[in-house]
């Protein structure tokens, strides 16, 4: 189910899959939490960790005047409220679009060519077929010292990246 959720975020899910996800999003709080986390990850990666979309939307809504007598004044009063809501919603939308635009999460595809990266100034070729060497090396790599296996994250990422 999480794969379908991921596919939906990547806009790669089929109609029935989307439907299933949406249904479950409505009924399953844990599934909703996963959805939130996936988006939070996207924000974190783009360096927007401080950006709490929900809080900002709330803040925008709080600034809106409360409509106390909507009957007679419905039309003129409603318009600004609608605009404000739309602006608030667009913040969320931007976050979502940014997330979907990330060219990510499929390491089974070919690795990004070096010229696509900012590091490619010296035009060094991307290493191919060296997964076994990286795996062998990682055991001895102390630099990302989170636990004993964390250095392997590089290797595991690479393993399917060069296929």
């Amino acid at each position: 189910m999480k794969e379908q959720l991921s596919a939906m975020i990547d806009d790669a899910a089929s109609g029935p899959e989307c439907e299933g996800c949406v249904k479950r999003l409505k009924s399953d709080p844990e599934f909703r939490a996963t959805w939130d986390v996936y988006h939070l990850i996207g924000d974190a990666l783009r360096g927007h960790t401080g950006l709490d979309v929900a809080a900002r939307v709330r803040a925008r809504l709080d600034q809106e005047p409360t409509v106390l007598a909507p009957g007679a004044l419905r039309r003129p009063r409603r318009r600004p409220a609608w605009y404000a809501l739309s602006a608030a919603a667009s913040i969320a939308a931007v976050a979502l679009v940014g997330w979907m635009a990330l060219p990510l999460f499929d390491f089974s595809s070919a690795p990004v060519p070096p010229q696509a990266s900012a590091l490619a100034v010296e035009a060094v070729p991307t290493a191919q077929g060296v997964g076994d060497y990286l795996l062998a090396h990682q055991r001895f790599s102390p630099s990302l010292a989170i636990g004993g296996i964390a250095p392997y994250i590089r290797t595991v990422a690479e393993e399917s990246g060069t296929r």
Binding site: K2, S6, V37, L40, I41, A44, L45, T49, L102, P103, L104, F105, D106, F107, S108, P111, V112, P114, A116, S117, A118, L119, E122, V124, P125, T126, A127, Q128, G129, V130, G131, D132, Y133, L134, L135, A136, H137, R139, F140, S141, P142, S143, L144, A145, I146, G147, G148, I149, A150, Y152, I153, R154, T155, V156, A157, E158, E159, S160, G161, R163
Partner: protein, 324 residues
Amino acid sequence: MRSVLLAAAFAAGTVTCSGAALAQGSDALQWLQRIYSATERLSYTGTFVYQHGEQVETSRITRIVDASGVHERLETLDGTPREIVRVNEEVKCYLPQTMTLKIDRQLDTRPFPAMRADPRALAEHYTIRKAETERIAGHDCQAIVLEPKDKLRYGHKLWADVATGMLVKAKTLNERNEVIEQFAFTQLQIGGRIGKDQVKSRFAGKGRDWRIESTGMVPADLAQHGWLLGPLPAGYRKVTEMRRNVGASTDVGHIVLSDGLAAVSVFIEPLTSKTPQTPLGLSRLGAMNLYIRRVHEHLVTVVGEVPAESVRLIANAVEHRRPQ
């Protein structure tokens, strides 16, 4: 009299300044010590993102330390599932896509030297200082900056949980101060109840048809076979050496070098018809640089999370002399 007083005040000022810098440095060193001991002694579970170049991947890591030792499990959450499970000194890497199980275990019972960074030795090659405090994944964190003193190693910025010392975020930076890789927890639970089932592989029972590759590591003295290292780039020294399997290649010599933080591996294997046809020279993958050359009918592959210049210098330091 006045000038004497001024000079004295000036001197006192200078002393205080450098004293403060020293105290700041040693405080940062204590933070590093704290990070290392925290990552060893703590149990935790969390989700983190790892980014190198344009690629990003989400993984879940769980670690339990109890009377029976250390149990860890790392599982990728994106793309094809891949899993690494560690029980004390044995590391198993499950790759379901190719139905391969890679087992990394010592055949010899002698332990490898601790491959942990030594904060005091680090100060020789890195300027270490405390930076800002920042909230990451719900934890108040202290940032520590390790700035390289030369161009032979990368810079690092680490964020540690103020309460426990646990590493919550890390960045590796090149000489232009560009991020070449980073990892950051997006959710992290330190301590508390963590179920043992979270450190068990979900492929463990299914491995019957899988291809098993064992590293078969045994300590070795490669100099006895004529393999020597000439002058190495500043700060790098040999940490351990062994013979082992690497993928399909058997009997590969493996020398590990380190400057106390970054590690470089040197692989030496005889050229045969089975030797993979990898292009010679320099290549790169994320923060890792590789340099491959031929020496005395052998393939020498140098790999490390260090700048290109360092892998090149180390590769060129490998030489073969007929054993006496």
